[in-house]
Symmetry: C2
Subunit: 220 residues, 2 copies
Amino acid sequence: MTYGPLPETDLTRHRRLREQGSLDRADLDAILDAGFICHLGVIVEGRPMVVPTVYGRDERQLYVHGSVASRSLAAGAPVCVTVTHVDGLVLARSVFEHGVNYRSAMIHGIPRKVTDPDEKTDGLRRLTEHATPGQWDYARRPSRKELAATTLLALSLEEASVKIRTGAPDDGDGPDAALGLWAGTLPLTSAWGAPETDPLLPPDLVPPAHIARREGTRHG
Amino acid sequence: MTYGPLPETDLTRHRRLREQGSLDRADLDAILDAGFICHLGVIVEGRPMVVPTVYGRDERQLYVHGSVASRSLAAGAPVCVTVTHVDGLVLARSVFEHGVNYRSAMIHGIPRKVTDPDEKTDGLRRLTEHATPGQWDYARRPSRKELAATTLLALSLEEASVKIRTGAPDDGDGPDAALGLWAGTLPLTSAWGAPETDPLLPPDLVPPAHIARREGTRHG
């Protein structure tokens, strides 16, 4: 990534829990690369709407499958894309100090509808490969008609902010220690299961290696 | 739940992929009960902002930890709360038919700041118990000062929509079947790990049963 640190702007400045904020672009990259689902926030007739959708990226922009937001995109409206990985519960001695271990990235900007067929194909390749490495070279690629029927948005990664919380609760040596209660974290992890073959397929058709080898590996 | 089916309003009507829409309130309840993190969408100075935060609920409303959105809540602004569980990748023969198995709920409304101390305490209890059943009776409850320092929002569950996709790809018997490619799904599951005791605690302090028993259980 040739970009510098994440910029502090009115939108990205950490107002709360500043100690959880990161200005390191490598943290942003890592959070984006660990997932494939984002929550896309748009304004529709004056009201916010938050829709889950898939994404991919290159060095400087995020590609988002945009059909879910297509009815609000006419006027170059601003969006917010948030990617969150939940790593566990932070269980302190007091309810007030409870929290969540997580990694979250928030990207602000005005997306561009990708119309050039070559860029659209490349964006869809990135999106496909982001979720399932190896799949673009395996599956049938989009036809011209399918390409035209797909809405792809590109969003600059310039204006982004990152928050990360890790580790034990923060009240380890506070007065609540005298309560004698257990405190710590309860980790949460995601993992890929065994591929399930489409029941309409011949049962002896086995998943290709790039899919089979993910079984049991961690996600997120 | 005494509510009827989910209402079809301008905000909840399914415009895309209508076959994935559900008007069954039991589906909404199940999606909300399966998770504890939502994505809260608010409008801040004309731009959308999507922040992850924790929630709980009663029969008719969602309680959301609202400090993350506190700077945009002055004017009774509308919000959108989305809860998403990702169940796996849908890997079709063609890139165009690729998708995601998921369960997602979207709730629209104008949240109310909870100010009554009794309701706030009850809301925090629901929020705590939602993420960690048994924890409210175990940990130290909020003091009056801590209660005052917590922003809790209540959002009616009346205007909500649900989308669910399950199962194999949809192109099983389409012309792409002739390609001879594997197609199916790659499931993704989340599970709780082993509790990690705060290193500042005596090492012989063991996690209470309500936390220890979650190890290895599925989440989401």
